[in-house]
Symmetry: C2
Subunit: 157 residues, 2 copies
DNA sequence: GTATTACCAACTAAAGTACTGGGTTTTATC
DNA sequence: GATAAAACCCAGTACTTTAGTTGGTAATAC
């Protein structure tokens, strides 16, 4: 599991789509300005996201990006895995020396942890974040409007 | 929150101390061989860990490193924060344009997520990982022995 | 047709990763 | 006291990743 600023860019951009994509596609130029990320870097990120079906691009004037699936069917793990290569480092050279069994021990413990983090992030969707953020702000702003349109208020956690 | 191979190195090294530090200090040379990490890079990591009091060094022949606290009082978040600078990127320039409120929205949603991940990792200790790994392997190996010495078997999750 | 947008690819500056190599201190042991 | 084992320290450096720049092509609404 890997988590860096790249993953954060991707998640916040996806949140941007979730919040602002209710009335039409969102352009990368908008996101670029909103988030302060360069347009071309966003293009790179969205190429990965599109490859995993997490976003859908619409060309031409008035075009932009939509979420590829409903916001409650896209987990944080989905987004992060799309851009932040899931470095699986169980490089278990089959050489069962005593030093190696020790290495295998700590590595398998790490794998357990890695799996726990993954499961945790799989359980959180974009919709969850929007809903929780709304609960904090009172739901009277853009997020609230977007959430209504997304039907988030009718769902259980 | 940041999570990279650097954090993984630190966690596995700390697990090494938890597993092997029951009968005396563990040398960096041992860890270097066990984990396949260069000695000098380990020194850098342990300089950070020592700075946060997570490990305690013993100089001279027969020396090495101990955990700075009991394994059930060191969380994964502690270890990762020590080496993987907690990049807090709430660079909120106080410029409340409409674009900025939008940016603030997604950023605060990210901060919520970041906090959730942090809380999650704060709730997992080195002792937890050793105990769970043991449950998987049956507890009849080195981990089991170490866990007995650490008194892990008498604790609740 | 033209402007707008997604899409594509090569190059590059800056930062982070992991290692190399040279030290110095401390301290147990002979 | 000499020796050696270990922590501790620091400057440099090859490599990778990050993030951005530039310069395009393809689709499409108007």
């Amino acid at each position: 599991m890997r988590l860096s600023t790249k993953g954060r860019y991707a998640v916040t951009a996806m949140l941007d789509l979730a919040l602002n994509g209710t009335e039409g596609p969102v352009t990368l130029a908008d996101i670029s300005e909103n988030q302060g990320i360069s347009l071309s870097y966003l293009e790179q990120l969205f190429a990965s996201l599109r490859g995993k079906g997490l976003v859908r691009g619409v060309r031409g004037p008035g075009g932009g990006y939509y979420l590829g699936r409903p916001a409650d069917e896209i987990s944080i793990a989905d987004v992060i895995c799309a851009v932040d290569e899931w470095v699986e480092f169980t490089r278990c050279n089959p050489r069962p020396s005593s030093a190696d069994t020790q290495r295998g021990m700590t590595h398998s413990l790490w794998d357990d942890l890695s799996q726990q983090i993954y499961d945790f992030l799989t359980g959180i969707t974009l919709a969850d974040l929007v809903r929780r953020g709304m609960a904090r702000t009172g739901g009277s702003d853009d997020a609230g409007k977007a959430a209504e349109l997304l039907g988030l208020n009718n769902q259980a956690a």
